[in-house]
């Protein structure tokens, strides 16, 4: 088993923490994991991205030129990463902000109205968790329970009040595909 995922979006859409949460959950399940962020001027607004690799074997390159999946939160990210997704891979896109059709027929396209669902839950910021839930329903690379439990460790104590709404967002994302 080896899964390479790139997640990308505007700064503030939570793609980095989405990646960290997934990486942490992979580690908790005993997998080999790596998380590589983009860094530099991209941190100050614009598009941020990170690459997460979860594998049953030692991870050679921590970078991914042909990801198995991308989770994209905005249009510039879709344009940037859609062409490199592996044939047979998946594109999970935030359909609340992206209404462009993807010009590929060799990958699975999963449209997730992440902002809309997050708003229904009462906090736009959990859109990233809706995306993660949808991704986990697409490919159960780690267990949903592990991710939910990981929130406890990854969130600082002062943010623990936000764990329930993040867990609901994960569930809503999962439900979309089931």
């Amino acid at each position: 088993m080896k899964e390479e995922i790139i997640m990308a979006g505007f700064g503030g859409q939570g793609v980095m923490s989405l990646g960290r949460l997934l990486t942490y959950a992979g580690m908790k399940e005993g997998d080999e994991v790596s998380w590589m962020p983009s860094y530099g001027p991209e941190m100050r607004g614009g598009t941020a991205n990170c690459t997460v690799i979860i594998s049953s074997k030692q991870i050679p390159s921590p970078l991914s030129s042909q990801p198995d999946a991308i989770i994209v939160m905005n249009l510039p990210s879709l344009d940037k990463f859609a062409p490199c997704v592996k044939r047979g891979g998946a594109i999970l896109l935030n359909s609340s902000l992206i209404n462009k059709e993807v010009d590929r027929d060799d990958v699975k396209i999963i449209k997730v109205p992440a902002n809309q669902i997050a708003n229904e839950l009462g906090n736009t910021k959990v859109a990233n968790m809706v995306m993660l839930g949808a991704y986990l329903a697409h490919k159960r690379i780690v267990k949903l329970e592990t991710v939910k439990a990981a929130l406890q460790d990854v969130f600082p104590a002062r943010r623990h009040n936000l764990i329930p709404i993040n867990q609901q967002a994960l569930d809503r994302g999962v439900a979309l595909l089931n």
Partner: protein, 354 residues
């Protein structure tokens, strides 16, 4: 075994230094290593240590020189342009035979260059870097765990040889997160006392920390003492790893993150039936020349891959010593070679290369 934690390379190196008994850090901000001093500024006060943000890299390296002379385990970190400035202090530290650990999280150059990952400081790190006839022991991790392990070892090597040791990582090593374990923790109080340190000449003859010798014969003698240490390092501190080398007919030589990307390329090549292996230098000085020289008796060709336009390849060629062709492939200035690009080169080298 300690519990696994997920950490950024920069932060993991910082924690490893603390676990190695380091309680003093002097630095100056520069991307992409800022998480390291930031982490130290939080953690060192918790363990009774001192974090000090210096007015410049030049000052920081001289504070390290002072603290090392005073007998402490001390760390500084920077990235390429900052390391150039720190070379003043580093040369003095080497000349005065003091132990210190320097971390360079390399970025693209020359000049201000860029902030993306690079390996273009290989020459600077391994050939002395500052003025005078000196060498650093240089350790190049390729995973965050290895960055932790080598940082802890760096302090031991520095103390053993009374010589500065550099942990040479690229921007990717500094920025990425991987699980790490800290299996050892040293209390600085348990470290042996450094009898040569300047801590006040109480009841003993005075100690002098110095790199000045105006008589050229004295200075040559001093340089020969330094050289003997470097020779001893060559005997005792060579570190490397190999991958799929036993049945290989050709090998890639690469270090740091590039070695991991090369591993991906090797796996792709193996699927095509190409018998390629990897030699990964972990200590860049002392350079693992013996393993390469031995491999040159057996293999048909070598390919050095670097995030530079060809620096380590010179050491590989010296080790191969004309016995077999040594090819080079590099991307630089923050561009990272892809496994596909390297695969192409692996195929080319089999056909006789350039």
């Amino acid at each position: 075994m300690a519990e696994k934690v997920l950490m950024k390379g920069n932060e993991a190196i910082a924690e490893a230094a603390i676990k190695a008994g380091c309680r003093y850090f002097f630095g100056y901000p520069i991307t992409p290593q800022n998480e390291l001093p930031e982490y130290m500024s939080r953690r060192l006060p918790e363990v009774g240590g001192v974090f000090l943000q210096a007015e410049s890299e030049v000052a920081a390296s001289n504070m390290v020189y002072g603290a090392a002379g005073a007998g402490a385990r001390v760390l500084t970190s920077s990235s390429s342009p900052g390391i150039s400035l720190k070379m003043e202090g580093i040369s003095y530290i080497a000349g005065a035979e003091l132990p210190a650990v320097i971390v360079n999280i390399m970025r693209g150059g020359p000049g201000l260059g860029g902030i993306q990952s690079s390996q273009a400081d290989y020459f600077q790190a391994t050939k002395g870097g500052g003025h005078g006839d000196f060498r650093l022991c240089v350790l190049a991790p390729s995973t965050v765990q290895e960055a932790v392990d080598l940082t802890m070892e760096a302090f031991e090597i520095a103390d053993r040889y009374r010589n500065p040791v550099m942990v040479l990582g690229d921007g990717i090593i500094g920025q990425m997160m991987e699980p790490v374990q800290f299996n050892k923790e040293i209390d600085p109080a348990d470290l042996p006392k450094k009898e040569w340190a300047t801590d006040g000449a109480r009841g003993r003859p005075r100690n002098i920390i110095n790199s000045l010798a105006l008589d050229p014969q004295d200075l040559e003698n001093h340089n020969l003492v330094l050289k003997a240490k470097y020779e001893q390092m060559k005997e005792q501190e060579v570190r490397y790893a190999t991958y799929l080398l036993d049945d290989a007919d050709r090998a890639i030589v690469a270090y740091g993150t590039t070695a991991r990307i090369a591993t991906s390329a090797i796996e792709m090549a193996r699927e095509q039936g190409i018998r390629v292996g990897l030699i990964r230098p972990i200590s860049l000085f002392p350079f693992p020349e013996k393993v390469i020289a031995e491999a040159a008796n057996r293999l048909d060709s070598f390919l050095t891959v670097e995030m530079s336009l060809g620096q380590m390849v010179e050491d590989v060629r010296l080790a191969v010593n004309g016995k077999k062709p040594v090819f080079f492939y590099g991307r630089t200035a923050g561009m990272v070679p892809s496994p596909e690009e390297i695969l192409e080169q692996i195929i080319l080298m089999g056909g006789g290369g350039e």
